[in-house]
């Protein structure tokens, strides 16, 4: 009973905030609704007993990815921070592309879920150890680091390549930028920096020659 009530509360919040992400005029508001969406989805994960997934969702998506989203969106010009996709002249250009992509994703989802529904042996549940004695995290680890270790490692490598690629694409060495060299700074001796001179009166001394 209470479980059902909480499920409906969280899923309603998730759906409404997902709609608000696309509808809201202000881009920063969109990101905040996206965060709310992530949080309610992770609550749903926790409700079905996938506590590890729920927490990882919070840490990775809300704690890091959405912060970077916000970071980028906030850097945009404040005056232009309105979402004009649905009202401006460009809307006719964007909407067909969005529609095509969403229809493709929709059919992919139907294929995947329909596969589970009509051919149950596709979804082989016997690998996962769902018992009360083994915690969710342990059972995930037991399957992720044994049967699927290669897929796990490959996905990690793909992420690493993407990360390095992004750095390489945006990194540019600028000329004339002063950089602090810690080793040089620390290893400076007194003899290099200070020199004691005898100054004759009315003659002065010439430095930096």
């Amino acid at each position: 009973m209470a479980h059902a009530i909480f499920f409906y509360i969280f899923s309603t919040i998730a759906i409404i905030s997902a709609i608000m992400v696309t509808v809201s005029k202000n881009t920063v508001h969109s990101v905040f609704f996206l965060i709310l969406d992530f949080i309610s989805i992770s609550c749903l994960f926790i409700m079905i007993g996938a506590e590890f997934l729920g927490m990882i969702m919070l840490i990775v998506y809300v704690g890091a990815v959405a912060v970077l989203f916000l970071f980028v969106v906030m850097m945009l010009n404040v005056a232009q921070q309105t979402n004009q996709w649905f009202s401006s002249a460009y809307s006719s250009r964007h909407i067909p592309i969005g529609l095509i992509i969403s229809i493709i994703i929709f059919f992919e989802l139907i294929i995947v879920i329909g596969g589970w529904k009509y051919k149950p042996d596709l979804f082989n549940q016997k690998d996962l150890n769902f018992t009360d004695t083994v915690s969710n995290t342990h059972s995930l680890g037991q399957i992720l680091y044994t049967d699927y270790i290669h897929i796990f490692q490959i996905s990690g490598m793909i992420l690493l390549v993407a990360m390095i690629g992004a750095i390489v694409l945006t990194f540019r060495q600028r000329e004339g930028v002063k950089k602090q060299n810690y080793i040089k700074q620390i290893s400076r001796e007194r003899s290099e920096g200070v020199e004691v001179l005898n100054v004759e009166s009315n003659k002065g001394v010439k430095i930096d020659d």
Binding site: G63, V67, L70
Partner: protein, 332 residues
């Protein structure tokens, strides 16, 4: 009826935890200022009440009676939400902190992940406050803190992995019980130091208080806040500091365990030991504030990404290989 009694019990437990936390936040602000003053050979707040103990109460009263000013061009909903979020997040994390083997509100399986998640959500209060103020200094402060907190979370996460390798569980009580013979601060001492410094950066404490560096940004993301909303930011910040101290004492200093399992020591209740450890870490926090000058922003980023991250990663490899070689891995 059954639901009501459960809800009543839970509310009772929560109030029994939250009110002491809020009171101790007020006391800790006083302690912070006092330690800071003593290091600089000043007296600090010593007028209101005995030893100035009621100073925070007087400050709180002043904040409550001040006018709330909401800037005309601010984004009002988010502007008001920001301090509320900061404070809520700082308080909900206390739900999983174990004060003894049984004295915990929610003894969940993924306790340490929950703590980590909540502390990583803490950045939103600051970003929302800085952006919604619609003013230059708060905005700069918000952007700085976003980058800073995300960077230092990475190294905190890897340090937590180090501890988890030795424990084999994400449950906070089991993390504490795993330290029965040896606190993790001894084998993982470098990780403890890095955790402490990262916690300073994560809570925007000096020397990493660039989001609110008064010499550059007035007061950073808090510039436009006044009255009770400012006080809530303040409370949330100090509750977060206490939380990081609690996290450090659970991960490294053996949580509610007594230092020696001998007669006079194990009579002291576990909650008191945890409070002593939190206070010890907090005094270290306060001393650092008084002693160390503020970092420059590029130095801060360099420290996070180029020193702490590789070093803690190397320690993960070291810990894992040591445990594997000597067959000490906690397998169940």
């Amino acid at each position: 009826m059954e639901y009501f009694s459960i809800i009543f019990q839970e509310v009772y437990k929560i109030l029994f935890l939250l009110i002491p936390v809020l009171v101790s936040v007020a006391m800790i602000v006083w302690l912070d200022r006092r330690v800071w003053a003593f290091v600089q050979k000043r007296q600090g707040p010593n007028v209101v009440g005995p030893f100035g103990l009621l100073q925070s109460l007087a400050d709180a009263l002043k904040y409550i009676f001040k006018e709330l000013i909401i800037p005309a061009s601010s984004n009002k909903v988010i502007f008001i939400l920001a301090p509320i979020i900061t404070m809520t997040l700082a308080l909900i994390a206390w739900a999983v902190i174990p004060f003894s083997e049984t004295q915990v509100i929610a003894n969940i399986n993924v306790g340490i992940l929950y703590l980590f998640a909540v502390s990583s959500l803490g950045v939103y209060g600051i970003i929302m406050g800085g952006w919604a103020s619609n003013s230059k200094y708060p905005f700069l402060g918000a952007i700085r803190s976003a980058a800073q907190m995300v960077s230092y979370e990475v190294s905190i996460g890897i340090i937590i992995i180090n501890v988890l390798l030795c424990v084999g569980s994400l449950n906070l009580n089991e993390i504490v019980l795993a330290q029965k013979n040896l606190w993790f601060v001894i084998p993982l001492f470098p990780m403890f130091v890095i955790f402490f410094i990262s916690a300073l950066a994560e809570t925007n404490r000096p020397p990493f208080d660039l989001p609110e560096a008064e010499a550059e940004l007035v007061a950073g993301y808090q510039t436009e806040y006044s009255g009770m909303m400012y006080a809530m930011f303040w409370l949330g910040e100090y509750a977060n500091i206490l939380l990081m101290c609690a996290m450090g004492s659970i991960l490294f200093l053996g949580g509610w365990l007594s230092p020696i399992d001998l007669f006079p020591f194990n009579l002291v209740p576990g909650a008191l030991w945890l409070i002593f450890k939190i206070l010890f870490l907090f005094i270290l926090f306060a001393l650092v504030k008084a002693i160390v000058p503020r970092y420059r922003y590029d130095q801060l980023m360099r420290l996070g990404w180029k020193i702490f991250l590789p070093f803690s990663l190397i320690w993960v490899v070291l810990t894992a290989s040591y445990l594997f070689y000597f067959n000490l891995l906690p397998v169940n």
